[in-house]
Symmetry: C2
Subunit: 146 residues, 2 copies
């Protein structure tokens, strides 16, 4: 592994569009790891760019950092992930997207009924039920979500 293949945190930040502080934060949370120079500065692998990309995409889908870490933990330990590894884990994201689209479609169908009668009634329209609220993107009142 060439010395030039190790990136300081600022470079990684520039490559991903992330703030330096965000990358440090992710390392703290265990989403990414780094080597250290003798002077205690972080050095990252090139493949970490991809890792951060994955984090950004997954976040966009509404996954929390904890869930993202779970996904990332499916990558092979000890060696740099191959393209094949990334394909596998990306397909898992694709399922997430599919699920979200399906949920939105159901919500839309129910809302359409409600627009029909104008009621917006929890009882009649059943626009809420645990199933749907569970997969929701928004935070929502905790009491209801428990």
């Amino acid at each position: 592994m060439d010395r030039n293949d190790l990136l300081p945190i600022g470079d990684l930040a520039r490559r991903t569009g992330l703030a330096v502080s965000a990358i440090r934060f992710y390392e703290d949370k265990g989403l990414i790891s780094s080597l250290r120079t003798s002077g205690n500065q972080r050095r990252f692998l090139r493949s970490d760019i991809r890792r951060l990309s994955f984090i950004l995409i997954a976040q966009k889908l509404g996954l929390g950092l904890v869930e993202i870490e779970t996904e990332l933990s499916k990558l092979p330990q000890g060696r740099t992930p191959t393209i094949n590894d990334w394909q596998k884990i990306s397909r898992s994201l694709r399922k997430e997207i599919d699920a979200r689209i399906a949920l939105l479609n159901r919500t839309r169908a129910k809302l359409d009924e409600c627009i029909g009668c104008g009621c917006l009634s929890l009882q009649r329209c059943q626009l809420y039920n645990r199933e749907d609220r569970a997969g929701a993107a928004g935070a929502g009142p905790r009491y209801v979500l428990d």
Copy 2:
């Protein structure tokens, strides 16, 4: 207006599934308003059940309370909203859903390309751009979102 048409906060909570504290919080934020008894207790209109329902649905779509207030402010002031009023504002929500579905479809298409090459590269796959990140559900790093 009959005296019986005024609901104490606990009843409203039971009808909507919200916590009492959440309703008070929404009132504080100006999403809902109440009358007071001589003893300073809140009394709500029956139509507030619908108002809270709307808030819950909109939250499920990932709208923030501020955006929801903006929507709600389109309801007529001074009188209880009619079914027609609710239909109008609900259609606005429907558009939100449509937009979100469209965004997810675009994201999925891009991810599919990425799965194809396994790159997950920000440059090549263009899985990020401001347009998409803007409509995203998740929080995302603030620096990038600015």
